[in-house]
Symmetry: C2
Amino acid sequence: MKNAVGREIPENIPGLNKIRPFEGAFAYQPTGRLVGPKIPVNVPRTEKTLKSIDQAIEATGLRDGMTISFHHHFRNGDYVMLMVIEAVARKGIKDLTIAPSSLSAVQDCLIPYIDRGVITAIETSGIREKLGDLVCSGKLSKPVIIRTHGGRARAIESGETHIDVAFIGAPACDTYGNINGVDGPSACGSLGYPMVDAAYADRVVAITDNLVPHPLYPISIPQSLVDFIVVVDKIGDPNGIATGSLRISNNPKEQVISRYAAEVIEYSGYFKDSFSLQLGSGGASLTAAKFIKEKMLKQKIAASFGVGGITGVMVEMHEQGLIKRLFDTQTFDTPSIRSLKENPCHVEVSASLYANPHSRGPIVNNVDFVILSATEVDVDFNVNVLTGSTGRLMGAPGGHPDTSAGSSVSIIVLPLIRGRRPMIQDRVYTVVTPGETVDVIVTDYGVSVNPKRKDLIDNLRNSSLPVMKIEELQRKAYQMTGIPTPPLPPSDEVVAVVEYRDGSIIDVIRKSK
Amino acid sequence: MKNAVGREIPENIPGLNKIRPFEGAFAYQPTGRLVGPKIPVNVPRTEKTLKSIDQAIEATGLRDGMTISFHHHFRNGDYVMLMVIEAVARKGIKDLTIAPSSLSAVQDCLIPYIDRGVITAIETSGIREKLGDLVCSGKLSKPVIIRTHGGRARAIESGETHIDVAFIGAPACDTYGNINGVDGPSACGSLGYPMVDAAYADRVVAITDNLVPHPLYPISIPQSLVDFIVVVDKIGDPNGIATGSLRISNNPKEQVISRYAAEVIEYSGYFKDSFSLQLGSGGASLTAAKFIKEKMLKQKIAASFGVGGITGVMVEMHEQGLIKRLFDTQTFDTPSIRSLKENPCHVEVSASLYANPHSRGPIVNNVDFVILSATEVDVDFNVNVLTGSTGRLMGAPGGHPDTSAGSSVSIIVLPLIRGRRPMIQDRVYTVVTPGETVDVIVTDYGVSVNPKRKDLIDNLRNSSLPVMKIEELQRKAYQMTGIPTPPLPPSDEVVAVVEYRDGSIIDVIRKSK
């Protein structure tokens, strides 16, 4: 059967319980109730600190077939996942599902444990490098489930993903289990992802290299959610967690794209005092901030809030009074980790508050503008941020579909051509963000507005932007690259499903031939 | 059948589903899972603000037989409960259970709605004045359920109390439903009680007299939990919410009791740097702070945290560096409302984090000393804070049983004699806090230590305190008052049950004759 973005979704996929094809960004009306963890109990003055991860695994009752979760706030500096999986393997436990908030290149170290059957299923946002290739080769017995940040929160809260044990890397943890991410040698900033895990997992283990006296301040995840504490030498490599400030790009192509994106915002009709903003962490998205800032100063307006992955660029605007509040699910660089600790109006939020569609209103629903990158787009405005043009797993939905659906004006920035390949396809290899939620595509050769946004088309007439139909933009690319040869068709076997934020299947990844 | 504090608990109580007698403070091992609310959904840019409470009642689908909740942070200044019940009555809805976090004297205004069958059941912490008398007279068809603050959070999270609609009086609310209690003309400080309601109710309505632009800062209850907003003229009377500072007592009896309580702390063996502390809001409890402070300054030590209902007395110690953190579920006076807004280490916490026994560790579990008042105690160290010696409903368990169970040293302060009545009974009229969790009873005529606390008995030998057996203390009282005549026995009909924090029945209130 074909879903609402025209993708063929098998009615049955071995290893998955139920398949609900994507029917439209807001079509699904959920029923039922949110779930809760096992009712816990704790007598006063219980000692929560255990001697080792091995001991914690015993204490939690972890056994074959269970699901364990992790967070990816340490990015490529993460030591926690490997430490836990090594300990699990030592105990002879097998057939685990891992449900991290995302996976980075560093997690290629997990491959031997997939080979040995310790890990047999994965639910994640991102998956890449050798681990991505392994998935595409059909190595796992169950399809990987790829989710957005909001979708992961939804899946956990609704019980679709049941976490038996959450292992939380804790940059600071006190002796009764209060945790934050802003203190200590492995500070990563916001703990927006594991906030959800801690609230819903049956057992919660904090793993820290920075045990401090009770009570910690500030508290991101409270003691009432943490069962056990393990102290280890190092939970992460600071160089992999965050180094310096994510920089504004000097790449001339990105300069053009950024200037166009800022002009889209200026003329959109939504650029007025107290507007709100999300910027991705890509170069063009960050660079756009420079131009937006100039326009804000000129018009003497300030933003009511900025949200998302927070970077030094947004922190600077906050500290200059140009963005009044920052809502932070993930902190991307050193200046923003410092800001989260110091600035009271830079507020940590959970992935659920940020982007969960099954909520009484996530923060993405209040965003006016979002600027997002893409690996490729298509003439239906569908966006791929997960696979390359030939199907290789190399990215993550992250908050892309969430914020694109929530925002008033969703702006996708990408170069018209990368290498020798055009970036506007007839069909993206994988649909991650549906075209109905994408408003403007900005390239270095021109700007296209989704035909359903007549208001934006009208408003942008007043700008000097090279606005054109998406087909025209595609033609421009083809003039330079020629018509690309279509990628080799994959096999029929599904190795991963791409869930839309509401839990429906928007696309599948098939085994590479 | 008799429970673990020797009270006769009927096996069946009409109107209640299951009766589980109290078996000991930590005897009950819960099973099962926490529950969740109906899965909500909200499309971007939904208008949450409705024109009236009547409209909100329609929007929530409230109907006969449902349960609605409120918070009591406005104390005797609350306008919200009456406004909602009036609107409910206008709609002809009947047979509601109200489940406020507590009831104050001002809620006598609800009596006509009980007479008319609009309200037919009550779950609360406190109940007093004419409403209390009404309950004792057997007017309600179901017994009132009286809970501790931690027990209420437990009941809601476990699904024992299912809230269909929570109505939350919001001193500040933004246009997408973010709420705090520290801003606006009806500022009350912490919103620790309705934080729990908002997370578990099927529908949540914010009622505010202070609608502000999105996004509010700080946020106590986030937009993701709030369905609807109603703006009214006034949600409360500031004079009833908090007036000035709760004062240290000059009453000579209370001075003696306070000095003794402070000396118990000093010699207990737990009085060292980084100790932790809860003080009740009663005069003797607050006055003890003065003496504790002197001892802290002398010994050059500071407390790691203070918790509970926060008062100006604790705020002053915090601002002087004597208490490093304040955890605040309920803010009692004007200086502490100001402090919650201004002091970053004065932190708002939910009633669940504060005191829920079915948690991986509420804050009460970390408390070293708590000083609590009582209406009467008995020779088994059981404490009554709910009824007078003749059974009249006049108080509330509040956090008393929670913090008494959690703390290392639980100190009960009360005068040996009130009026012409001795305050140490053979049996308290109603057991609210079981003697096994009470460590020291301090009166103006002497101090008694629970015999099971041999460590405290030993340590207090070094003090100059008049320590004596509880029977001896009782004898002293009788010498002055004579042996009191026992209260008239009530009828058999149960009009209220007193739940211990774990959901078991520790005592019942019977219909007055």
